[in-house]
Symmetry: C2
Subunit: 190 residues, 2 copies
DNA sequence: CAAAAAACTTAAAGTAGTTTAAGAAAGACT
DNA sequence: AGTCTTTCTTAAACTACTTTAAGTTTTTTG
């Protein structure tokens, strides 16, 4: 069950067999039921999660009481509240399984040991985060420069499977539009 | 002139004197005039830039021909097109000085050498990127859940100096509203 | 497999922000 | 110091999207 994460890491940095064994000994595989939370607002975030199988959403409850989806995480993505993990303060985020999923758990304590014994892992995460950060800047660009309709069409054309995979109200929230408006967009044949 | 960057790095990881000397030998200080570009769309991005003094904006030209400010970088921030730096493909972004500035240039080749000789630097950038990524997720949240007016007031109250520092049309673009609308918001006394 | 809960649809009225256009003020260069 | 360029302002007409409300379909669960 570690094969997914090990091969992902190997795409960025080399790993020798002892390192792989150490990883396997300190990482933890966890099955997560649909709608189960890995993190809830108010809790202390204690781990980073690698999605080996399934789909998660990172969301928060706005001051108006609505759920706002900030980020989705599917296979080969890491998902967590990095700020909360670092600060040790109660998180403002929820991380929830959108479908039955499997994650590899990297606990904060394990992380410290692993970074010390396998310095290459710092390199791996640096690169993973460079990508993630770039992706967010690109997203900001789309949010400001595409209408809701254009964004939806782009998602639908670029990630047709993903659009089918998550409930429409979550996708609407992620795109920053109401579920009613997304429903209307879908009804319209272009 | 390296003191700013060295003390920033030391806030995250320890550095011994030889490492500091190596850094000083491979980093480059560069004065940048107001409106001068460190990167233009179509060029290959060759470096990451640490803002020692001054202010930059990362922007792009939209399909409609308008400038869209994606990110500002002030003192102690790194600014670059990480995706372009990694891929080696022509960038879609511009990085321009908003005011007379001083940057420390970390060239791609120097980066490779430094990461190899000072593994702690990977750790430094991992942490810098964790912050930057978190900040972008928080920003996405604000973009979706605050009106333009609320966002402007938050900026004004939280970063009063910064709001004075950049031209209003750039701030408007960063906030995702038109300069005309921002002007109207400012005129309104609350 | 029935009942309840969750997710999706439709449509009308309302609003936050854009667009356009023109003028005023501030900054920069010779 | 004066001209040219850049930045900021004002206001009216317009639009992409929200809100509200009610009904329909799909999924989950005992």
């Amino acid at each position: 069950m570690f094969s997914e994460i090990l091969s992902h890491i190997r795409r960025f940095v080399p790993l020798d067999p002892e390192e792989e064994a150490l990883l396997a000994s300190l990482l933890e595989v966890r099955e997560v039921k649909k709608k189960e939370h890995l993190l809830q607002a108010g809790e202390i975030c204690k781990a980073n999660y690698f999605v080996a199988k399934g789909c998660f959403r990172l969301y928060l409850i706005t001051t108006k009481g609505a759920e706002q989806v900030i980020q989705f995480g599917i296979e080969d993505w890491w998902i967590t509240d990095y700020a909360g993990l670092k600060s040790g303060k109660p998180s403002g985020f929820y991380v929830q399984a959108v479908e039955p999923s499997t994650v590899v758990v990297l606990n904060k304590e394990a992380e410290e040991v692993l970074f010390e014994k396998i310095p290459q892992l710092e390199r791996y995460f640096r690169q993973v985060l460079e990508r993630a950060y770039s992706a967010q800047l690109t997203r900001i660009h789309y949010v400001f420069n595409l209408t809701g309709e254009e964004q939806y069409k782009m998602m639908r054309d670029k990630y047709p499977d993903f659009v089918q995979r998550v409930p429409q109200y979550m996708l609407a929230s992620f795109l920053g539009i109401t579920p009613e408006f997304l429903s209307m967009l879908r009804a319209k044949k272009d």
